[in-house]
């Protein structure tokens, strides 16, 4: 997902019996579905985990602008260009809402940004893959945004108020991204043989990374279990991945595209699709910085940040000058 492998700092899931009185009171509020607000007391581990998770989520939105930005200057019609510009702009907005949620936890946006640029804070593995043809733009909307929505809708009910509220706003805006991606692919799949081939090529490259987005199986993960207990992770990675496969297979069939998994088949007994083994070595390599685009993505963000420094500084300097002049004028009066 947009936040993968979030470290809770816990070696074992907290046990009610050994918790401190404060932590137990906190857990009781969570269990009673009371939303936690910024000023409320909260265990430091909960706060730190949330910061990590929301930061990863925010960074994913921001870095996620880059693979799409790669095609915005080459969009093949003016309508598609406008749609793509608006979509990437939404992602900037989502990043902004989420950075704001992080700020309610006492970490400024500059600090969060610097954590990304220093490589200390992660973003979703999916955005380290390249966009090589125009159908990739549709495929990202269809698969990547589709997977994101699946994760984000439950997060609208998560225990931390500002995060939940940001998610509500994001989900409202996000629902059109998936549709526009599918719409783009429908046009390609009904188009010329070359267009159809582009769409299949895009699906071949994005299918497995999309499944990896949900993260490794988490049945045995301490972090996932603790996050679930705190209600900042509401469904398991495998549960979400299965839902995603189940909903996507018929959509691919509608498009006339072949999902690149020979083991994919309907399991009537389970009532779900079975799918082949995921190459987790690839996932961990990408997470560790060795995906096809990790270096370029971070360099682009670093360059934007460094090149923009004088602009940000000038705006602050100007505001200070104006404030000083206003003060002087008041004193003179």
């Amino acid at each position: 997902m947009y936040a993968q492998l979030v470290d809770t700092g816990q070696k074992a899931v907290q046990d009610d019996a050994t918790m401190s009185a404060e932590d137990r009171a906190f857990q009781q509020r969570i269990d009673a579905d009371v939303k936690i607000e910024p000023q409320d007391a909260m265990p430091e581990a909960y706060r730190r985990t949330l910061v990590r998770q929301i930061q990863q989520h925010a960074h994913s939105e921001i870095v996620g602008m880059l693979p799409e930005g790669n095609w915005v200057t080459r969009a093949p019609s003016l309508k598609r260009k406008a749609i793509l510009m608006a979509k990437i702009q939404d992602e900037a907005g989502h990043g902004l809402y989420l950075y704001s949620a992080v700020e309610t936890l006492g970490v400024t946006r500059d600090e969060t940004t610097e954590a990304l640029l220093a490589g200390k804070s992660k973003y979703s593995s999916i955005f380290n893959y390249p966009t090589l043809n125009w159908a990739d733009i549709g495929t990202i909307g269809w698969l990547v945004d589709g997977a994101a929505i699946m994760n984000q809708i439950p997060l609208c009910r998560c225990s931390y108020g500002p995060y939940a509220r940001a998610m509500v706003r994001i989900c409202k805006e996000e629902s059109f991204h998936q549709r526009q991606g599918f719409d783009l692919l429908m046009a390609m799949c009904r188009g010329t043989p070359e267009q159809k081939a582009m769409a299949q090529d895009a699906l071949d490259r994005w299918w497995w990374p999309s499944l990896m987005m949900f993260g490794p199986p988490d049945a045995s993960s301490v972090h996932s279990a603790q996050s679930a207990k705190w209600k900042i992770k509401l469904l398991s990675n495998d549960e979400l991945r299965q839902r995603f496969v189940d909903q996507t297979v018929p959509q691919a069939e509608y498009l006339g595209l072949v999902i690149p998994d020979p083991d994919l088949c309907w399991n009537a007994e389970r009532g779900h699709y079975d799918y082949g083994a995921i190459d987790w070595d690839e996932f961990f390599a990408v997470i560790a910085g060795n995906g096809p685009c990790n270096r370029e993505r971070l360099e682009t963000r670093r360059k934007a940040w460094d090149d923009g420094a004088w602009v940000r500084e000038a705006a602050v300097a100007h505001a200070a000058k104006v404030a000083a002049r206003d003060r002087a004028a008041k004193e003179a009066a």
Partner: protein, 272 residues
Amino acid sequence: MSAAVDATAARATSAPVAVDARLADALLQLADSPLVLAQRLCEWIGKGPVLEEELASTNVGLDLLGQARLWLGYAGEVEARTGAPSRDEDALAFHRDQQEFRNVLLVEQPNGDYAMTLARQFWFDHAHRLLLDALTRSRDERIAAIAAKSVKEVAYHVQRVDDWIVRLGDGTDESHARMQRALDALWPYTGELFVDLPADAGLVADGVLPARAALRARWLAEVDAVLATATLTHPDTAFMHAGGREGRHTEHLGHLLAEMQFLPRAYPDARW
């Protein structure tokens, strides 16, 4: 229809055909500047100096792109009245070569640093607003309607860019120097904004287009007022580049179009 009837019909409409051909060209002049500028703003996506500015600058780009689409749509209709093969907005945007583009040279200049992008926007936005405002009084109702919608958007672009010119001009030493350098560099491209092409004289006389030269004094007063607050100036040089609106461009436009037009040119049969 007989050949004789065809010939009579052609004679009867030959004058309007010439007018329509000229009107189509004038509409492309209105379309191509926002189109090319929107394309330039697209290049900033994901690379802006601050997140809020990403959203704001994309809004400007979307406004400009929307305006270009309206003008192109109308240009295509008018062009079709001349008996030319019908071209929609995409045919016009993606299948014309650089010498057929009618944008001012200013908007095709590269983004440079943020000061260069804002200077380009500053010189253009003020002129754009004055032009659109005058076009709301065009005797061509479609032109007046498109201008009325667009002028509201551009009024906001003007406010926004003015704020930035003042911030950066009256910010730090570095921002002041960068801003002044950018304004100086792009100044020689501002003359073309106020040129009245001889070929458009008929449309101006008919009240379809405003006389652009008449807009310059007000433009200068507006930009000078902002520059004064920003502790910036414009150069005194009188030399001005021109030719963009007649299809004579700088080297930059060809590269911009090569990127923008790649897919429709490579796959001419495809629908996207």
